[in-house]
Structures are given as structure tokens and as C-alpha cells.
Symmetry: C2
Subunit: 198 residues, 2 copies
């Protein structure tokens, strides 16, 4: 073996905050991370992003890009982009340590708050446009728009269906609103009210 050969392991800096915790703890954390990632994937959130978030949440300690890379075995690029996306969502935060150049990231700790944030965003991005489309559809079928065709069987049926959907989405939206308006601890209360009332 030539002396010039390079072994990155030998010159790796010791970690400032050694992540490789006790193996038992680590196994538990990994379980959680994996499952959280799977769930995310099903709900249309990219698996890796969900896993990064799970990691930050479960450890409860700020980690840097390299920590995330090492622990989840993903590339620097992926880490960087996913961390940024999570920041954009607002469920993790950037953190600077005095006297350190490196950036750290930490998860919000309140699950209710995170849920509120996500729910609000998804409502805005995904429900609102649909509701708007439905309202437009209803308008387009008003007698003023289509004249005597308004009495056509097919039109009547379609209008009924649109009305049903509109009612559902409006009510759902209001519930959403309530959940989201009552941030943090309030949320918890909201749910308890509901459970008692039933």
C-alpha cells in the first residue's frame, strides 16, 4: 500500500457534539425516524425531508448539516435543500452558535404548533384553490350564465353535486381555520372541547 494513499477516516475531526449516542437510544431514534419518513411519503411529503425533521425533533438538540448527512446517509446537496425547505415550512429553525461559523438547525418542540403550521399551509395551497374552482363552477351554471339550459337534467344534477361539495369544503375550511387560529396550547383545548361535546 503506497504511503501517498489517503484515508479520510484518519483525518476526520472529532465531532464537537458527538452524535453517535448510546446504541440503544440510537436504535429507538432510528425506529421513529424510519416510521415518520414512511408516513411522510404516504402523505405526499418527500421521505428524506420527513426523516430529517424526525431526526431533529427526536434528538431535541440542534444539529448541523454534517450531522444530518452522517446520520441519515444522504448527500450534502440533499441535506442543504431539504433543510432549507423545512425552514421554509417553518417547522425547523436555523440557529447560530456564538463563535461558530457552522449553522445548526433545530425542530420546533410543540407538536400542536407544528401541526398548525403545516395544516395552515396545506389549506392555503391545496384546499383554497379547489374551493375557489368549485365556487366558479357553481357561478357558471347559474341561470344568468346559461339561460334555459339551467333546467336541463344534467345541469341540475351537476349543480347539486357542486353544492354538496361546496358545503363540505366550506365547513371543513372553517374547522381548519379554528384549529389554526388557536395556535399552540389553544389547539389542545379545542380538541378537548370537541371530545367532551360528543
Amino acid at each position: 500500500m503506497p504511503v501517498t494513499e489517503f484515508n479520510p477516516d484518519e483525518i476526520a475531526e472529532p465531532r464537537v457534539v458527538p452524535l453517535p449516542v448510546d446504541p440503544q437510544l440510537r436504535r429507538v431514534q432510528d425506529d421513529f425516524i424510519r416510521k415518520w419518513g414512511e408516513m411522510g411519503a404516504i402523505w405526499g411529503i418527500n421521505r428524506t425531508m420527513a426523516e430529517i425533521h424526525a431526526l431533529l425533533y427526536i434528538t431535541g438538540v440542534p444539529l448541523c448539516t454534517d450531522d444530518v448527512m452522517d446520520r441519515l446517509h444522504i448527500s450534502r446537496g440533499n441535506s442543504s435543500m431539504s433543510l432549507r425547505a423545512l425552514c421554509d415550512w417553518g417547522i425547523i429553525r436555523r440557529m447560530h452558535r456564538r463563535g461558530e461559523r457552522r449553522e445548526y438547525f433545530e425542530s420546533l418542540s410543540d407538536v400542536w404548533e407544528m401541526f398548525s403550521i403545516i395544516a395552515a399551509e396545506r389549506k392555503r395551497r391545496e384546499m383554497d384553490p379547489v374551493l375557489e374552482t368549485i365556487k366558479n363552477c357553481i357561478k357558471a351554471l347559474e341561470p344568468a350564465q346559461i339561460g334555459k339550459l339551467a333546467k336541463d337534467d344534467a345541469v341540475v344534477r351537476t349543480r347539486q353535486r357542486l353544492d354538496g361539495m361546496e358545503e363540505f369544503m366550506s365547513v371543513t375550511n372553517k374547522v381548519f381555520q379554528q384549529f389554526v387560529g388557536n395556535a399552540k396550547s389553544g389547539l389542545n383545548k379545542v380538541v378537548k372541547v370537541l371530545l367532551k361535546a360528543l
Copy 2:
């Protein structure tokens, strides 16, 4: 142009129930279908399946495989598989017409009922396993399992996070349960209770 050339358009059978309704109505329906498909895609439901469901829902009339194929420009295979999947979900139903071999499909008409069905299924498939994993994680960190390590800082933090998540998911699950238990019209009531209580 050789006389042997074949033009499928010329021999196409006239439709038994001509789907091509009034163009104005059709435009409205298409809008709804497109938007519903987009939403489905975002929520992890395949776009085509969502579109087929939207079509059946919005027309409010039983359609056969060919109707679906023609209207959405998809292949027979795709139609067949997607329709089956929707039947499995339970939000559309097969329908036989006396004296006809061809099968028809129709959507449930009650949006609340459809929502209940979907919510129940997704809870069972996606939330329940996660909650179970979390419970297992909590167990694995009990002093009985890990001895004096239980007082380790990192372990304490992880346990706290797991507890937070467990509480959230348990409560969420109960709410889900309530929604789903009170099928159909009951659902509507549930929501009204919630809105009033706040």
C-alpha cells in the same frame, strides 16, 4: 390513398348514452375534474383515480368503462384498474343494468360519507402503525429496559419528544374516531358542535 386504409372514426358506434353533453356544462365539469385530480395528486392519490372519481361524482350518473376512457382519454387497462381500486376504497360502486352486460359505475353522493370512508381507511393504514411505533419506542426507553441510562440527558430529551408526539397522535386519533363513528349526517352535526363550542 389506398382503399384498404382503415379509419376507426368511420366505424365508431354511436354511444348508447351520449356523454358529450352541452359544451358549457362540459367545460364546468372538466374544470372540476382537473382541479380534483390536482388535489388528489398532492395528497398522495394518483391523479387519474382522482379524476375518474371526480367525473363519476360530478355527473351524478352511472358511467361505463368506455365512457370513462373516452371522457378522460385514458387506456382501457388504466380505466379498469383505477375503477377497481375506487371500488375497493368504497367510494364508487359497480352497477348492473338489467339486460345489459356492460358494467356501470357510480359515485357515492354524500360527500361526508366519502370523507368518512377515506379518513377511516387512511387512519388505519397510516396513523395507527406510527402510533404503535411511538408506543414501542417509549417502552424501549423505560428504566426497566435501559437501567441507569434512563437518566442520561439525551435519553430524557428523546423520551420527552416521544411523549409529546404520543399525546398529539392519541388525541388526533380520538377525534378521527369520532368523525368516522358518526357516519353520514352525524358527521355534519359533529362539525357544527365543534364550530359552536369555539
